[in-house]
Symmetry: C2
Subunit: 260 residues, 2 copies
DNA sequence: GATAAAAGTTGGGTATGCCGAACTCTGCGT
DNA sequence: ACGCAGAGTTCGGCATACCCAACTTTTATC
């Protein structure tokens, strides 16, 4: 025997390396991975060796590590699992959007490929999760729309909320109260200096043209929002399946994979 | 730290001890647990000590072990999780009944209490899973209908399929092909001696009065079937919520529980 | 270019959960 | 009532995945 739950740890490392590595290219530091996972750097060193042995990362001593094609492919599958699970919990099981993250974090390691594909089918192949994060396709292609932080959006310009960081449930509840959701239209009206509040007009996705609210957001809330000049298209814009015209594609060069 | 995934192992032991102990009372042997879990008896000894330390089983050296009230309560919760997950996979995600067991085995350790209750609600509080096994209620009460093995049913008497062992997916597919399902009406017509085939009339749950098929089942298939004289009532028969008039109730004496 | 701070690695140690081998207890059969 | 087979336990080991503390390498600064 001797095959305990080793998968969970590896999967968590892959996810973190993927997200820290600017989605694929960059070398990520040991320390960054340790901080994100809440483990010590010595644990990361050990795991780096193990991942390298398994061909999932390239790792040179005292340098950082970078996902290999195989590691990237598996990381994209994990992202797909996580985001599909979140979408499923909200759409099919009536979770509020601030309740899904922790459950998804556990379930992503437990759902089979069959279940992932059944959820995907039942949800009608969603392209993004409840927080606006794009869902990689079954063959591992991620459409990454270009979006800017709300923090740097010029005053007076119209933007659409593209993605909302889902780490803090309390923040999500607060944002929901202020009317901010994915696809909401926002215009920054005023920025108070030195970390002061940001005042903005908010119009909910389906609201009337003149139906806007005024919200005052603190630093933490502003930092959680990514916005786009363009409104997300409900239908794909091109053959590649993008919902924004300005969009990167990330995918692992076909690795004939059979494991998992 | 030191908080790895210890829950899974404990939960698996509790489930096995529960099912081996004739649903609660009997002391189960170390060897039986080892055989069922596919581990060595030394592993069971160690775990028995740990479970006893945690107050989940009563264990006397060189004697077997028996679930405590707390252990029984947790075991019933695991049974609930497993069977609700199976029901959910079939009803809401389109699994075939032979596909659910393995996925449920993993998911039962990963679903949160919130998710269990959401599934339960969405399914309309089902009282049994796709294989006919009763689902304990949220407060840990299991209605265990009396059922007899098909192997000992007298020739010529009418019975209703109450439960079907779900361990072997191939067997389940075969049974489905022969028209056998939960609530199917069966009459044993002939038993060939020395482990020969059993021939029986089968009428599917919704079929016309004269719409019966003839099936020939081998030993293994016959052993997987539990039947009841009485047809399961679609609605509860009494205040206790039983769907059969002859039914045992199993529950842990209220233990004010907060963990998990 | 020396050197100290930062970043990464190694080594020794912990906890879980499993194993086989050796030892110990129980109880059955004579 | 004895003794032995079988069931149960203990012990030393293995693998994973962590930790801290000590050591090595890189880097950034003077």
């Amino acid at each position: 025997m001797a095959k305990t739950e080793n998968r969970t740890a590896i999967e968590d490392y892959l996810k973190v390396i993927f997200s820290l590595g600017e989605w694929q290219d960059e070398t990520v530091s040991n320390a960054a991975v340790a901080a994100r996972l809440g483990v010590s750097t010595s644990s990361v060193s050990e795991m780096a060796r193990k991942l390298a042995d398994n061909g999932l990362v390239a790792h040179k001593r005292y340098g950082g590590m970078r996902l290999t094609d195989e590691g990237l492919e598996q990381a994209l599958q994990m992202v797909r699992r996580h985001r599909l699970v979140e979408t499923f919990l909200v759409t099919s099981l009536g979770y509020a959007w601030d309740e899904v993250h922790d459950d998804a974090e556990v379930l992503e390691h437990a759902v089979s490929t069959l279940m992932v594909e059944r959820m995907d089918t039942q949800l009608g192949h969603p392209w993004r999760d409840p927080h606006g994060d794009p869902i990689p396709t079954a063959d591992g292609v991620l459409h990454q729309p270009t979006a800017e932080p709300l923090a740097t959006t010029p005053v007076g310009e119209r933007r659409f909320v593209a993605r909302i960081d889902d780490d803090d449930p309390a923040l999500l509840r607060w944002l929901a109260e202020t009317g901010i959701a994915v696809d909401a239209e926002v215009v920054v009206r005023e920025r108070k200096p030195f970390g002061g509040a940001t005042r903005l007009d908010v119009r909910a996705p389906g609201a009337a043209v003149d139906g806007h609210l005024v919200a005052e957001l603190g630093d933490q809330a502003v930092a959680a929002l990514l916005v786009s000049v363009e409104r997300a298209s409900p239908k794909p814009l091109n053959a590649k399946g993008c919902h924004y015209s300005d969009c990167r594609h990330i995918s692992a060069p076909r690795v004939s994979e059979k494991n998992r």
